[in-house]
């Protein structure tokens, strides 16, 4: 009888670890694809994949984080399309909130910094919907989350990239600074040089380079 229980447990354990492996494998494969994504369509397909992974791994903050990131990225890619952005911002925000709720506020500051960077991007996405009316409302919120992200982890290359993006795209009158933007993008790029790949957030290189290319 004992034997039976033990072997039963063993089988269960095997099964569990296999499924866990399978899950993290799914996340890794999606993140690898994410590194190659370019168009809004790519991000849309990947977002669906991350949503599925999130359902299978409800305790892990990363799938929700990546789903939110995909939606934030779509907002930036569709910035000239106004009204089409909103559903992505709304979905993204719910996913980012879900990711935030899975984090320990005291011990996972770096992770939280990543989530806040994405929330900042999602709010900037809302500004694109109609800069004249949504700008005054969501622009400051985007700025607040970026500040919070930088405070939690001053060396977060993605928060630094986003700060560079803001400095580059804000008119001088309202605090924009192209020279500072260049400096920040270079700083972000340097921090990304020895970033590990894996499933932890490591995006930003392409974005930094894209920004720096505007100075050439």
């Amino acid at each position: 009888m004992k034997k039976l229980i033990i072997s039963g447990l063993a089988i269960m354990l095997l099964f569990l670890s296999a499924s866990a492996q399978q899950n993290s494998g799914a996340l890794q494969s999606a993140v690898t694809k994410l590194d190659q994504a370019k168009t809004a369509k790519d991000y849309e397909t990947l977002e669906k994949e991350f949503v599925k992974i999130a359902a299978a791994q409800p305790k892990d903050w990363l799938p929700n984080y990546y789903a939110a990131y995909c939606n934030a990225k779509i907002g930036f890619l569709l910035q000239d399309d106004g009204e089409s952005i909103e559903p992505y911002s709304n979905r993204g925000e719910a996913q980012a909130k879900a990711a935030e709720s899975l984090l320990d506020k005291n011990n996972q500051k770096k992770e939280l910094s990543e989530v806040y960077t994405v929330i900042s991007m999602l709010n900037q996405g809302r500004v694109f919907i109609n800069p004249m009316t949504y700008g005054p409302k969501y622009g400051p919120i985007a700025q607040q989350f970026l500040n919070a992200a930088k405070q939690l982890n001053p060396d977060n290359p993605r928060a630094i990239y986003l700060a560079a993006w803001f400095k580059y795209n804000t008119p001088k009158m309202w605090g924009g600074d192209k020279a500072l933007a260049k400096q920040l993008a270079a700083q972000s790029l340097k921090l990304l040089d020895n970033a590990e790949k894996g499933v932890t957030p490591h995006w930003g290189k392409t974005e930094d380079q894209e920004l720096l290319n505007k100075y050439k």
Binding site: R91, N130, M132, T133
Partner: protein, 747 residues
């Protein structure tokens, strides 16, 4: 006997049959959620083959008992989500399901009925209009009605204020603030000269400009309704001031520390005499034009969802002019109008619970218009010539109007964004005063009741059906006005809209002073439109037909026996995408209208209607040099003009002369440059300078002609000066209100 046996057998079988039925029923239960885990209430669940179905409760849960067995298809539908088909196998045990619905990307933008209307709201997305877009059109003189002339349907009328929409006069358009009628939105009219608006457009977060087929919640406007929604609480406390060539103003808004209440005051003074001393005018003023206005407001959040708002506006004006008399070279004709107006609006809205919303309001306004007309000789002495046409040129009229309105609207919210609204309102108005030596007194009580339903017939099909009943004590008549509209969305995001409605309006007091044996005037609207919004572009085309009945006639006697029609096609296109930092829209209006009203001898084209009108509004920002450029252009083909005179022998009015004015062509330009002052301050103020020119090219605009008594002389009605130029400085503290100030054209 045999029968008895059969009966027994049947009776014996009955329980068996019933139990069979009972046993064959299977329970399917579960919960419906969306992809981010939120429950979807009121989703429809049905079994395809049997049609048995139910709806989910507020927690997204459902339960169906079914007789169906074997392989079945379960259909799940909900507005805003893609329909879900789930294959299930019903065997001999209950089934529990967790269903996940995917949002339908297209229906995230709901079908919103938009036939006959332009919405300018702060919630606008993409290329839809915001309230600020609407009133930042160059050359609008801080008047919403003027700003909206850049939209299709409106006529380019330069000699008076108001919105002339689709063959309707300016009086057929009414303005509403938070549901309450604004009886006198502009300073008192002066013949041949456009007057300013009293209400500051930056107070509004939403403007609905309806050029036809509007909701049953509003009435007494035969052509068009301008429905404005005031801002709730400001985002921050702020202050601002401006000094322009002909006027100055100061204002502030204070938001309470707990962000639950706010108050604000503003004051503005505008004296055109300063300006006219520098730039000569065709019109010779002996007084003003001078305008002084102030407003105050408070707004309080009550409870969790309530909002109480109070707005008061007080203003006075004085315009006096004296010009050569058209009937005699030796005489001069004077016209002076002094006005005082107080407007108060208290409104309250609250959600009574999850299903009910209440909107209520009271308004009171007082308006005093004092008109003095006289004929003077070369030395300035008043002359009385006791014969036609001079005997009517010495004239004095003073009218005081008290106006009060009470209104209540209940909204019952139903699943799938459906709603039922109903309520009532009462208008009390009392005019008292005198015209020369005749006393004028007129009291009217107008009561209205209305109901309207928003019905979503399908994911892509919505309807709004309403009815309005009105009773006037003065006319002692009831009228019933049905309204209906329909919207159908195409899979590509384009939308077709259809609207129908009947609209009533009381004749103007001017005529009611003389007789109350009149009917309501009436217009029926039929509107068809197509809109498509995508990628920061917005296209709209609309066709309509409008039939007028019971228009006011002054000849042979004052009666409501006039009639007419209007029909046309309008186009609108806005593009914010093609060129960076450039926002422009263009519109085209075709209008074919004829009416028999006032002293018109027949059904003819009215003098305020041009067949073709085109407008463009262009806004370009140059962020690198802190400069904003704002241009508006309007073109209209000539308007008809007539010399209609009374012919004594056959006791009737005839047209003695007629023609078409030359086309109207105007470019308004505004340039603003922002400057940084007091950089060291904690809250850096936003400052700037702005210059602008209305009628940049100095085109000679002719709006019509004035004839002398025998028709031998005709003088064009034109602008008081070739151009209107303004320049000024403005500054705002706290919240950035730069664009409001810039674009209000404070002059």
């Amino acid at each position: 006997m045999k029968n008895n046996v059969i009966k027994h057998i049947i009776l014996a079988l009955v329980p068996l049959l019933i139990s069979q039925l009972v046993f064959a029923q299977q329970r399917i239960s579960g919960v419906v959620k969306n992809n981010i885990g939120d429950a979807i209430p009121f989703a429809g669940i049905s079994i395809k083959s049997s049609g048995e179905g139910t709806k989910t409760d507020s927690a997204g849960k459902f339960s169906i008992l079914t007789k169906a067995t074997g392989k079945q298809i379960l259909l799940v539908t909900s507005v805003g989500y893609k329909s879900l088909r789930k294959e299930i196998t019903i065997a001999d045990s209950a089934i529990s399901l967790d269903l996940v619905m995917e949002p339908n990307a297209q229906s995230l933008n709901e079908v919103i009925i938009s036939a006959g209307s332009f919405e300018a709201s702060d919630k606008a997305k993409g290329a839809s209009l915001t309230a600020m877009d609407a009133f930042t059109v160059a050359g609008n003189n801080a008047d919403i009605a003027l700003a909206l002339r850049s939209l299709p349907g409106a006529q380019q009328i330069g000699e008076r204020e108001g919105l002339f929409v689709r063959g309707g006069t300016g009086d057929e358009t009414r303005q509403f603030i938070d549901g309450m009628l604004v009886k006198n939105p502009n300073y008192p009219a002066v013949p041949g000269l456009q007057q300013y608006a009293r209400i500051n457009p930056s107070l509004f977060s939403g403007i609905l400009f309806s050029s036809g087929g509007y909701s049953a919640l509003y009435g007494q406007a035969m052509s068009s309704a301008l429905i404005m929604e005031s801002v709730d609480l400001p985002d921050k406390s702020s202050g601002s001031f401006h000094v322009f060539s002909a006027g100055m103003g100061v204002g502030m808004q204070k938001l309470a520390r707990n962000k639950k209440s706010s108050y604000g005051v503003s004051l503005s003074y505008n004296n055109q005499a300063w300006y006219n001393a520098v730039i000569s005018q065709r019109v010779n003023y002996f007084s003003g034009p001078v305008y002084l206005g102030g407003d105050a407001n408070f707004r309080i959040k009550t409870g969790k969802t309530g909002m109480l708002k109070f707005y008061t506006n007080w203003s006075t004006s004085d315009v006096g002019m004296r010009n050569p008399d058209i009937d005699s070279a030796a005489l001069r004709s004077g016209y002076q109008v002094k006005g005082t107006n107080v407007y108060n609006n208290l409104s309250y809205r609250d959600y009574l619970n999850n299903d009910w919303k209440l909107d209520a309001g009271v308004a009171y306004s007082y308006n005093r218009v004092n008109i003095i007309q006289n004929l003077t000789d070369a030395s300035g002495q008043i002359v009385n010539v006791p014969k036609e046409p001079f005997n009517s040129k010495n004239y004095h009229r003073l009218i005081n109007t008290d106006f009060a309105q009470g209104r209540i609207v209940f909204t019952r919210m139903l699943p799938h964004n459906q709603a039922l609204r109903f309520g009532g309102e009462h208008f009390y108005s009392k005019d008292h005063g005198m015209s020369n030596d005749t006393t004028i007194a007129l009291t009217d009580n107008l009561t209205a009741a209305f109901a309207e339903g928003d019905i979503y017939l399908a994911n892509n099909l919505a309807a709004k059906v309403g009815v309005r009943a009105e009773h006037s004590s003065l006319l002692s008549k009831w009228e019933i006005a049905p309204r209906a509209s329909l919207a159908y969305r195409l899979p590509d995001g384009g939308q077709f809209n259809l609207a129908y409605g009947v609209f009533y309006q009381e004749p103007q007091n001017e005529y009611l002073y003389q007789t109350t044996d009149l009917n309501f005037s009436r217009a029926a609207h039929y509107v068809l439109n197509y809109t498509k919004k995508a990628h920061n572009r917005f296209f709209r085309v609309e066709a309509y037909y409008k039939k007028y009945h019971d228009l006011l006639k002054t000849d042979p006697a004052i009666s409501t026996t006039g009639k007419g029609y209007a029909r046309g096609i309008e186009l609108f296109f806005r593009d914010k995408k093609s060129i960076k930092n450039l926002d422009y829209w263009i519109s085209y209006t075709y209008l074919d209208t004829k009416r028999d009203y006032l002293n018109y001898p027949d059904e003819i084209k009215p003098t305020f209607a041009a067949p073709h009108t085109a407008t463009a509004a262009i806004k370009k920002s140059f962020p690198e040099i802190n400069t904003y450029l704002n241009i508006s252009y309007a073109f209209a083909t000539g308007r008809p003009y007539y010399n209609i005179r009374y012919n004594n022998p056959d006791k009737a009015y005839h047209i003695y002369d007629q023609g078409t004015t030359k086309g109207y062509n105007v470019i308004n330009l505004q340039l603003a440059y922002l400057i940084s002052l007091f950089k060291s301050w904690k809250q850096k103020p936003f400052s700037g300078v702005s210059i602008g020119v209305n009628n940049l090219l100095g085109t000679n605009q002719v709006f019509g002609y004035n004839y002398n008594a025998d028709g031998s002389i005709k003088l064009p009605i034109t602008l008081p000066a070739a151009r209107y130029v303004y320049a000024g400085f403005f500054m705002s503290f706290g919240i950035d209100r730069t664009s409001d100030i810039l674009d209000n054209n404070l002059n």
